[in-house]
């Protein structure tokens, strides 16, 4: 009998466990809303994935362009929140993957066959593109993405506040620290570098005369000047002159618009919103020099269109990308200048974009041309995370910058070995 009762116990437990696990599994299966539902229509179905741009009208614009395309029915996935990368990467593994998506050039997506070769659609107009934007999307002579917009990132400042505090526009990191000290009052903080300080990482490397990687793909960020710059950044972080935990992050103009800070690191995209709020009381300057051998720098970020190489309609997707981001110049100009300000990567459009020709936008374009550094396709997400960790550990936490950089260097080397052997 003992054997029998024992087996009963087992069955019950199996059932109980099964119910619990099945309930958990059922819940996990929810939430598969991929934005495709209800589109119906005839012809080829395509899905495009975008992160949510902050400027009003951007979502409508993207949908308007898509609706004007006749050869396929294009659905837009507009990803709000700060998890665009995670959503994109995990959906690329599934059947719900977007056919077309925006991202930054990163070589692991090419090596793993996630993005399609677009050389044949870009080739004919290659000379019209900013050469740096072609270079940053090229691996072994093939071009893998179409640059839509270039987004230089630099400092914006309130002219009136600097005048009142008798502060000159900072050209070195030391001067930025001093300016922050002088500009801080009980109502206004001197500088805003974003809530987690990550936007300052790449500019700090370049301004200190270092780089993310050398041309032959070796880590180039572990130098004494960078470590010294990190110490200065730590000083700024603990000085009480830096705006921290603001309700909106650096990419949003709220902090400077609402008078929370005198100087904010932001991107050219937010310039129209700032001008609207502050009028002429606004100036721009590049990331200041770090150490004696550095040079001021600007990060030329931006977004590019990629085609999912494992999608069902690769050819149709390529056709769509060609139609919108190569052929339809009026949409490209609309996208670059009607909402936020972005620099069109195509020379012909950049020349006709009158909004960027004068005043502050022209100054932004000048910083882009004079101090700009573009993305390096070999600098991948895993390496970005490694360096972000190093900065978090030694700037926000009181760790030793040299040790943190050495750890990051080790991780980056491991990653480089996996990518390039």
């Amino acid at each position: 009998m003992s054997a029998l009762s024992n087996s009963n116990w087992d069955r019950r437990n199996v059932l109980r466990a099964a119910m619990g696990l099945a309930a958990a599994g059922g819940l996990a299966a929810c939430g598969s809303n991929n934005g495709r539902g209800g589109s119906g229509g005839s012809g080829t179905q395509l899905t495009q994935m975008f992160h949510a741009y902050g400027e009003a009208g951007t979502e409508q614009a993207i949908k308007r362009y898509a609706a004007a395309y006749k050869d396929a029915n294009v659905t837009t996935n507009w990803i709000t929140g700060n998890t665009f990368e995670a959503k994109l990467f995990s959906s690329l593994l599934t059947k719900q993957a977007p056919d077309v998506f925006e991202f930054h050039p990163q070589i692991q997506m090419v090596k793993s066959g996630q993005v399609a070769d677009l050389t044949d659609i870009i080739g004919p107009v290659k000379d019209d593109f900013n050469p740096a934007d072609i270079k940053s999307h090229t691996v072994d002579g093939k071009i893998y993405g179409v640059r839509m917009i270039d987004d230089p990132q630099f400092f914006f400042y309130r002219k009136s506040m600097l005048e009142k505090a008798k502060v000159d526009v900072p050209t070195t990191l030391d001067e930025l620290l001093e300016a922050a000290e002088k500009l801080t009052t009980n109502k206004v903080k001197g500088v805003f570098l974003g809530n987690d300080l990550t936007p300052a990482i790449n500019p700090l490397l370049w301004s200190a005369g270092a780089d993310t990687l050398t041309p032959d793909n070796k880590p180039a960020f572990h130098t004494d000047a960078v470590a010294a710059g990190m110490k200065q950044l730590r000083q700024l972080f603990t000085s009480g002159n830096l705006l921290l935990d603001a309700p909106a992050d650096y990419w949003d103009p709220s902090a400077i618009n609402q008078g929370l800070c005198a100087i904010q690191f932001c991107g050219m995209w937010a310039m129209p919103a700032m001008q609207k709020a502050l009028g002429d009381d606004l100036g721009v300057f590049p990331f200041p020099k770090v150490g004696d051998n550095g040079k001021q720098s600007v990060y030329n970020g931006g977004w590019s269109m990629f085609v999912n190489a494992k999608g069902k309609n690769v050819d149709a997707a390529k056709e769509y990308v060609k139609w919108l981001w190569i052929d339809q110049k009026q949409y490209q100009e609309d996208w670059a200048t009607s909402y936020g300000f972005h620099i069109p990567p195509r020379t012909s459009i950049a020349q006709s974009a009158t909004k960027l020709k004068s005043g502050l936008p022209a100054e932004g374009v000048k910083l882009f041309n004079e101090f700009g550094h573009f993305d390096n396709i070999g600098w991948t997400q895993a390496m970005i995370t490694a360096l972000t960790d190093a900065f978090a550990n030694s700037v926000r936490k009181n760790g030793d910058p040299n040790a943190a950089l050495a750890t990051a260097e080790k991780k980056v080397n491991a990653e480089l070995k996996k990518l390039f052997g």
Binding site: A3, A18, A22, G25, D245, A382, D389, R396
Partner: protein
């Protein structure tokens, strides 16, 4: 073998007594019945739970980057890299600190609320509902309220406004990990969210304590208040307390939402194990092999802790064996 024989002999008797002969076949074969009722369940279970579990174990031995159908076997390399990954080992410490803070605090607060509500003579249902309401709020929504309106670092954040009245400087609760103010944010949000639910459990248990016990204690000279609580109420709540602590621990293990939204994965502190796995596998790095290895390590740890807890607290053991 002996069981089969006994069954074979025993079975016909009730079958004969029953007038409903056509149902005999169904009733006569326990094995068939077992599979009939559990079969559909087990199929679902296999597809949605067991396949992913074994797939994950399989993945953990492969170089699975940017793919879940890898081909390069690398043995225990993923395990090695996860165990030497300071983010992963650090996350286990983070989790332990979190559990050590949140479990006793929630236990005490929900018991306290339950005792207060239990003593109310009027409007009991109202207060019961009021304290229970936060349970209905999403963790993400609550985390964003805590981050963006109560604990922002700017001068008009709620906490900083209140502290400003007493001349305290603005505090950056989340950016700066020294001192670790972020624990205040993380712990209070979860406390607010879950205390009401456990209060209901305690309330139910309190209502089940027989009034005679208190009467007898009063006759024996026990003073109302601490003495009664310590020697009558608390021992009577033992079963509920154990269950509550177990549930709290499980919930703490699953912590993700509020950490992800409040601290974000750009920091290196305040990362729970699930966040590190998310960062490794589903997030930016797309390393499903290492992520799976971490998941397996975590599973083994949870199993070990649960078994140990069962051994010490006797949860799940039969009544008679206590």
């Amino acid at each position: 073998m002996s069981t089969t024989t006994t069954r074979g002999v025993a079975q016909p008797a009730p079958a004969k007594a029953s007038p409903a002969r056509p149902r005999r076949g169904l009733r006569g074969n326990p094995t068939f019945n077992f599979w009939l009722f559990t079969g559909p369940f087990l199929v679902g279970l296999a597809i949605f739970v067991f396949v992913p579990i074994f797939w994950s174990i399989w993945l953990s031995f492969f170089d699975a980057r940017f793919t879940v159908t890898p081909s390069k076997f690398i043995g225990f390399d993923n395990y090695k890299s996860m165990l030497t990954n300071s983010n992963f080992t650090g996350s286990l410490v983070t989790f332990t600190v979190f559990a050590a803070l949140i479990v006793p605090l929630t236990w005490a607060l929900s018991l306290g609320l339950a005792l207060l509500v239990h003593r109310l003579r009027f409007m009991r249902a109202f207060f019961r509902s009021v304290f229970f309401l936060p349970t209905a709020v999403s963790y993400v929504a609550a985390a964003l309220i805590w981050k963006m309106s109560i604990f922002t670092g700017v001068r008009f954040g709620l906490m900083n406004t209140v502290l400003g009245w007493f001349g305290v400087e603005n505090i950056a609760y989340l950016s700066d990990p020294n001192p670790p103010w972020y624990w205040l944010v993380i712990v209070t949000v979860r406390l607010w969210l879950q205390a009401g639910f456990y209060m209901i459990l305690f309330l139910a248990a309190l209502q089940n304590i027989p009034a005679e016990l208190y009467e007898a204690a009063a006759i024996d000279g026990a003073k109302p208040g601490w003495q009664t609580f310590r020697y009558i109420t608390l021992p009577q709540l033992r079963a509920t307390s154990t269950a509550v602590i177990l549930l709290l621990l499980v919930a703490a293990y699953q912590a993700f939402d509020e950490f992800f939204n409040i601290i974000s994965i750009k920091a290196t502190w305040g990362q729970t194990p699930l966040m590190v796995l998310y960062k490794t596998a589903l997030g930016d790095n797309q390393d499903y092999g290492a992520g799976s290895a971490g998941a397996v390590i975590l599973t083994v740890l949870i199993c070990a802790v649960t078994l140990l807890q069962g051994k010490f607290m006797g949860f799940g053991r039969g009544e008679d064996s206590k």
